[in-house]
């Protein structure tokens, strides 16, 4: 029989723009040690390891093999999953299936990146087809700008609407000691920051970071013994359609729409806006905070700006989004999706400290990347049926 799965511990580094004081294995180990301490487990308790990053940011082939001194994978099963920006969420989904299958009782999941070790935009550009896409593509920002431009043309949204999302996330980051950028900004400051790619200003986008995150999942047979109030995984979904950048429907995130609908159906959620208590989404730029929550079904098409302006997604609002400060405050890419998962788990477990949202029953976390791909997880306080 398939096993229900819960998160019983999380750990992350204090993410920074540049960590020349540690190598990759040492960075990974910081997160692993914290997750083990959080779950009060020892390395010998871990049955298997799932790890992910984006190879070309560090230029290391077979990272699962190379990293064992940091991950603790020596003489254990270790497997690598890699799907681009979605990787952090992909590895979490991987841990869920490894435990859910009954093959392993306790699985350690790791996402990491040392973006400081290469040219991030150059490496992202090589994600795209060498024959068709690479000539004009300019890293993540160019594609995101094209999405924002299309959304604005379709729904009449403005760059002020985008800036409001950035103001929110940067304010939330003040509550999170792990965030890299902790400085409040005003709407005017966002709009006055240098234009990178129309309509995206510097303060609309994420930084690049060095960081790692680790999450421990356990099967229903032992989860509550390890952690009295674990974070139960209610469901996962992923959509990676599209082969070329020009295949996407710019201005809408189809992968988020299809995946979230699947998730709501699985969990019996009818009104996500009312039934979810907190959202940690992989939102690397401000406009994603508008477009993608519409595709999640929180509000209708074109309705996100109003919903955001009314403060509904701020701390204390109807549905706080990114209490951690989100990706705009910190983006160690291979870890980023897993940080969202860990933050959502901490909210459910009541361990989110200064950024805790009260009484969390359902939390949502996601990963974003690739060619408009989305991976996602529904977290819950109660054990799923």
């Amino acid at each position: 029989m398939a096993k229900r799965v819960a998160i019983v511990g999380t750990g992350q580094t204090f993410h920074k723009s540049h960590r020349p004081d540690v190598n990759g294995q040492e960075l990974i180990h910081e997160a692993v040690a914290r997750a083990l301490a959080d779950a009060d487990l020892k390395l010998k308790d871990i049955d298997a390891v799932v790890i992910g990053n984006m190879d070309h940011f560090e230029g290391i082939n077979y990272v699962d093999c190379w990293s064992v001194d940091g991950s603790g994978g020596t003489m254990k099963p270790i497997i690598k999953l890699t799907t681009g920006g979605t990787t952090g969420c992909t590895v979490a989904i991987g841990g869920y299936h490894l435990v859910g299958s009954g093959m392993f009782d306790r699985v350690l999941i790791i996402g990491w990146e040392k973006n400081s070790e290469s040219d991030t935009t150059g490496a992202i550009t090589t994600a795209f087809d060498p024959i068709w896409d690479r000539l004009v593509f300019a890293g993540a920002i160019s594609g995101l700008a094209a999405e924002a431009q299309a959304y604005m043309a379709r729904y009449g949204a403005t760059d002020r609407d985008g800036a409001r999302v950035s103001v929110r996330d940067r304010k939330h980051a003040m509550n999170n000691p792990h965030a890299q950028l902790r400085k409040e900004v005003s709407l005017e400051e966002v709009l006055a920051s240098p234009m990178l790619a129309d309509p995206i200003h510097l303060l609309d986008v994420c930084p690049r970071s060095d960081g790692a995150c680790a999450v421990i999942m356990a099967s229903e047979d032992i989860a509550e013994k390890i952690c009295p109030k674990p974070d139960w995984i209610w469901g996962t979904a992923a959509r990676h359609s599209y082969s070329y950048l020009g295949d996407a429907d710019y201005g809408r995130l189809t992968s988020m729409r299809e995946g979230s609908q699947e998730l709501w159906k699985k969990a019996g959620i009818k009104e996500p806006r009312k039934e979810l208590d907190v959202v940690e989404m992989y939102q690397p730029y401000s406009f994603g905070g508008l477009i993608w929550i519409e595709d999640m079904g929180l509000v209708g098409p074109g309705e996100a700006p109003r919903y955001i302006w009314d403060g509904n997604t701020d701390m204390g609002g109807e549905l706080p989004i990114n209490p951690s400060g989100g990706v705009i405050s910190c983006n160690p890419i291979g870890a980023t999706g897993l940080i969202r998962c860990a933050e959502a788990a901490m909210q459910v477990m009541g361990k989110a400290e200064g950024r805790q949202v009260p009484d969390v029953n359902f939390a949502f976390s996601s990963g974003f990347g690739g060619c408009w791909w989305t991976d996602m997880i529904l977290h819950g306080k109660k054990k799923p049926a």
């Binding site: 093999c65 190379w66 990293s67 859910g100 599209y242």
Partner: protein
């Protein structure tokens, strides 16, 4: 836990250079062959796992190239980076976790598009090792040397692995290098990295393979008689060569032990009927067989000389021709798995062995066999 079975396999022919095919074209061919083999349509596939490597493919997010052509549009999908046996493992857990009933697993590589030694050089530690110019061949030459030193295995015995496997490939139309050669031919071929001659090494290859894995509740609903997964395990050793006993593979010994335990195999020498193991280099077939208990310590060479691993021997090893006869790196383990599945189903064609109830598949990740994945497949549930 619930049981899983392999219910369909499909492979492209392994070739030196598939110049007219993109990754997507290869995936389309392999996936359709697997669906046809299984008697399934794409509607019967619940989710997809692709296996690829950003380094081998020369692009970050290499899985992007093959998702649509693998039938993943509007379905759940993920990507494993590593040997195909690891992709299959993850695919199996997805069929057992209650989320999906069937997983389509693909793996592809086009070794022809890159310079292999630069790709494998990048697997060495950038701080301590890479600038020494190490690559997979030089690393494995060191391992071959330490294995030969410890076990007194001879260059002639290594060469005989090449003779056997290239000879087996004559009976496998998908193989890249079917060859009738002699021990002398191998020993006279160019010395690439002492003690490995050119014919001790697998070629650079292009290919894509697909397997379909099903939960027991649906495994018997389709065309093929299911081949059951009785046991599977994987394990990684230390990274640095200096931290390992290179003449051995303790991670393989552990993975095999756990796979046998799960399968209820007590005496592998007697119970395993057929094996496809990772023979990227000749010595590896012998070393791996010993570490998995399929030959006594330091005795695989002698068993080989007695013809015991031949197609008509008591334990046919790499009856398909193995990786020596075609090595699309990431897809390799899926080709091995498909070969054993076909043996157990009795439809391996020219390289069919006589008795094939229980089969073993082994795949490798990393340098010099740092990480191994071992599967025990069986005709019976």
């Amino acid at each position: 836990m619930d049981r899983a079975a392999i219910i369909g396999v499909g492979m492209t022919k392994i070739e030196k250079r598939k110049i007219s095919q993109t990754f997507a074209d290869m995936a389309w061919e392999a996936v359709n062959k697997a669906l046809t083999d299984a008697g399934m349509t794409l509607d019967d596939i619940d989710n997809v796992v692709t296996t690829s490597s950003d380094f081998w493919d020369g692009r970050t997010i290499s899985c992007m190239a093959v998702g649509d052509a693998s039938g993943a549009a509007h379905k759940n999908i993920s990507c494993v980076e590593g040997d195909g046996t690891y992709g299959a493992f993850y695919g199996m857990t997805r069929a057992l976790s209650g989320s999906y009933r069937t997983t389509l697993v693909t793996g592809h590589t086009k070794g022809s598009e890159s310079v292999s030694s630069l790709i494998t050089n990048a697997a060495f530690d950038p701080i301590y090792e890479r600038s020494l110019g190490m690559d997979m061949i030089t690393a494995c030459a060191m391992q071959a040397r330490s294995y030969m030193h410890r076990t007194k295995t001879t260059a002639e015995q290594l060469a005989l692995v090449s003779v056997k496997n290239h000879g087996n490939a004559l009976k496998n139309p998908l193989a890249q290098l079917p060859m009738k050669i002699t021990v002398e031919d191998v020993l006279k071929s160019e010395m690439v990295a002492d003690p490995l001659h050119k014919l001790d090494c697998s070629p650079v290859s292009d290919g894509c393979a697909a397997v379909i894995i099903a939960h027991e509740s649906v495994a018997e609903k389709f065309r093929q008689k299911p081949v059951w997964v009785r046991g599977v395990s994987f394990c990684a050793d230390s990274f640095f060569f200096g931290d390992r006993d290179l003449s051995r593979a303790r991670s393989l010994a552990q993975a095999a032990r756990k796979a046998y335990a799960m399968a209820g195999v007590h005496d592998p020498k007697k119970e395993i009927d057929v094996a496809e193991v990772s023979d990227a280099f000749t010595y590896q077939e012998l070393l791996w067989l010993e570490e998995m208990g399929l030959a006594d310590d330091a005795a695989a060479g002698k068993r080989l000389e007695r013809g015991e691993f031949n197609l008509d021997g008591p334990l046919p090893v790499n009856a398909s021709g193995g990786l020596l006869s075609g090595h699309p790196v990431i897809a390799a383990g899926l080709y091995s798995m498909a070969a054993v599945v076909r043996q157990i189903r009795g439809d391996a064609g020219g390289f069919q062995v006589q008795k094939a109830k229980t089969g073993l598949v082994q795949g490798v990740n990393g340098l010099g066999g740092q990480s191994h994945c071992v599967w025990i497949l069986d005709k019976d549930k």
